[in-house]
Amino acid sequence: MALSPTEEQVATQPRVIMEAGVDPLWRMAAYVSLGGAALWTFLLFRWMTFSSFGWTPLGAELALTNWPPVLPYVIYSGLLAADLVVGIGLLWRMKWARVVGLATAVFAILLAFTYFALLREFWGATAILALSLFKVLLLTRQVGWSLAYPAAFWLGIFFITPMIIVFIVSLGERSRLGTVNYPPFELDNIGIYFNDYVRFFSRVSGEFIYLRIFARSVWIAILNTLLCLLVGYPFAYWIARQPKQYRGMLIFLVMIPFWTNFLVRTYAWILILRDSGPINNFWSITLHQQALLLADNSAFFTWLAEATSRKLPLLFNQPAVMMGLFYGFLPFMILPLYSNLEQLDWNLLEAAADLGANARQSFMRILLPLSMPGIVAGSVIVFIPSLGAYVTPDLMGGAKVSLLGNLLQQQFMTVRNWPFGSAIGFIMMAIMLAATLVYFRTLAKNQQMM
């Protein structure tokens, strides 16, 4: 305990400043460090007891077997020691803890990148990177960024990074074997990077194949949106006008189909609509027999007997695709419309009626403008996935006709033209972005009006 007085003084100085307690950001950093330490302890424990417990190896652990078995010990225990020291140091308000914490965090970030570069193991690298970046932000007291960090990191890793990768791939060209080649960079020839974008909008063997698929997809998406709106609006309106105790129940009923996977529900529709399904059986067996019995009585039954002798073409055509899309996306229209209509002040409608407006006028001038945000939200939510629909046209349309989603799947899976597929993906994304912008614009305008 023979400390020199100067050291003693230096060490006690920050304690005076922070007597009220540890800085909340630093405390958070301490908890993150200790959490990290717990993680490394767990991994270390797994690594040490691999032979006796027979763990199912994680991706990171498989990757680490490429290195001599001592190295993982060094990495795990190094990270563990650093996290433990920093965590406890911060909680004990040690002056050096912040500097050491920053240094180890920066070192761990470098380690994460090296690790990924050497072993190509994504999850381990991401875990180290996520924890270390958070610590850096906390220790440098970036309050705003620290609060936004979990969401921002998630978006960065799982949205922005993949998007950048997709964009880079879309600039390349497909090799004979289906791998991606990038043309050598030349300034005056920069256009070749965008060949795939040009191809989408140009003639291929005399036809605008891709534009045709594109137009068809947009048309079907618009049609589906209108159909959902036409049916969903009165429905949502009706629910919103029910007594309060029933509304929750009704909305609950709308959501029940989501309990079953969409694919399973689509297959159920196939079973219902196919030639040997219940509808066609009723039509061509039950109805047909009755009509035959009565055929002599009137011209109508003669006609019916003739009509029912053929199966109804219910499946594997365009209307079937429309049906499947409409069925799948109707709840997405009803829910935003309902949440919008539910909050409406119905007194306004009464006031309009009092002032002499008829039903049509009060709908056009009161209800419709007020429910516009719900209409736009529902339309956007229905339009965007309808545009990329892939399963429905494949299963209910008999895979005969491509929509954008199928074209995209085909480029990646069958043709393995990743650059062109990525380009199509990017073009679709641009359209959806435009649709979303329209949504926010309308919303903003509406709020200004109110």
Partner: protein, 383 residues
């Protein structure tokens, strides 16, 4: 103050001791069951605890897998794909963890070129001797350096027995799939074609009298136009579950079909009363595609010995016969013939007679020509 620091140091020291004291005994790779197990093959091989098998849908009697699991204590992780292109796309996207895969002929060539298949020595597999000499040393994999034959078959036409039109005109030509005049007679009953770029365009090329591996643009455009003209008469493009969901369910009356799927439809609808099934299979007179699927080990697999052991198990005479008795595809396994049901051996749709076999052709890797095929396929699907 100092004491706290001392405690920290102590904790660190203990941790380091623990870490070093563990020694190199740990780590998933060091045990025999670990993923990098490497043992010499002449001794009883030490098998890994798991093996991932990626096969076509409905392409094995799954009892064989259970039996293998019980006998050798290796857990089989079984997964299925629907087309060669799906398989390749998945492997190229970086999917690791598959040990044994079953690609077809032309895809084997492509995968070898891409370095996706592990090189093996077929002679370390005792049951390799069971394979018919005709199927060894195939052009897409000389010397069986990567793959061993699994099953083979043909692509022809399956049609509904008892359909009034087919009673008088049994479909023996690709015209029944492509000629609008013929199609108008029976297309109301439904027609399916394979949702497979290579197979469908190859059928059109056969009908037009060209090679199924043509890369000539005018020939392919002719094939495309033929398909586009016939397409309005077709009900579905399905190559995944058409035998069960379309043929057996009577949703169609005629379908482009792989031989085994047609046989499956026949035997699934077979009734002892009539002594017949509902679906017949014909190999068109213009010629048809002959294909062979092959068992290979992925280059990324770390369990080659276990994989080889499993392949040897599949090539066993009785097991090979069990696969054929289940899938109705022909087996390249000569020794298995003793155990294959006689009905299957005598079925000309499954084991075509020599004069028919002479008209069969392999699909081969297209090289740069693939781009033209892709363009035609997009045009067909985009109409």
């Amino acid at each position: 103050m100092k004491s706290k620091f001392a405690i920290l140091l102590l904790v660190m020291a203990v941790l380091l001791l623990v870490a070093c004291g563990g020694g190199p005994g740990g780590g998933p790779g060091s045990e025999s069951g670990g993923p990098t197990a490497d043992t010499d093959s002449d001794a009883a091989p030490q098998l890994a605890s798991e093996l991932s098998v990626y096969n076509w849908a409905d392409y094995i009697d799954e009892d064989l897998l259970t039996q293998y699991e019980e006998e050798y204590g290796v857990k089989i992780i079984y997964d299925t794909f629907a087309s060669n292109e799906d398989l390749l796309a998945k492997l190229q996207a970086g999917a690791t963890g598959y040990d044994v895969i079953v690609p077809s002929d032309y895809m084997v060539a492509q995968m070898i070129e891409l370095g996706l298949l592990a090189e093996i020595d077929p002679n370390v597999i005792p049951n390799f001797a069971n394979i018919d000499e005709d199927f060894k040393n195939a052009p897409f994999d000389p010397g069986n350096k990567h793959c061993l034959p699994y099953q083979w078959g043909t692509t022809g036409i399956a049609y509904r027995a008892g359909h009034p039109y087919f009673e008088e005109n049994p479909p023996d030509s690709w015209a029944y799939l492509f000629d609008p005049e013929l199609l108008a007679e029976y297309s109301s009953g439904g027609i399916n074609v394979l949702n497979d770029q290579r197979e469908l365009i190859a059928a059109a090329l056969f009908y037009l009298g060209y090679s199924p591996n043509s890369t000539d643009r005018t020939q392919l455009e002719e094939a495309r136009d033929l398909i586009v003209r016939a397409k309005p008469y077709w009900k579905t493009f399905n190559s995944e579950d058409y035998d069960d969901s379309l043929l057996i369910a009577d949703e169609v009356v005629l379908s482009q079909s792989w031989s085994g799927d047609a046989a499956n439809a026949y035997w699934s609808t077979y009734s002892d009363e009539t002594g017949d099934g509902n679906w017949y299979y014909a190999i068109p007179q213009e010629g048809a595609v002959k294909w062979m699927d092959n068992i290979c080990i992925t280059a990324s697999s770390s369990k080659r010995d276990t994989a080889l052991h499993f392949i040897n198990y599949l090539l066993d005479a009785e097991n090979g016969a069990a696969i054929t008795n289940f899938t109705y595809y022909a087996s390249p396994n000569e020794a298995a013939k003793a155990y294959i049901e006689p009905d299957i051996l005598s079925d000309p749709g499954i084991y075509p007679p020599p004069e028919v076999e002479a008209k069969l052709q392999w699909l081969i890797e297209l090289g740069e020509g693939l781009f033209v095929w892709d363009e035609m396929w997009t045009a067909i699907k985009g109409q």
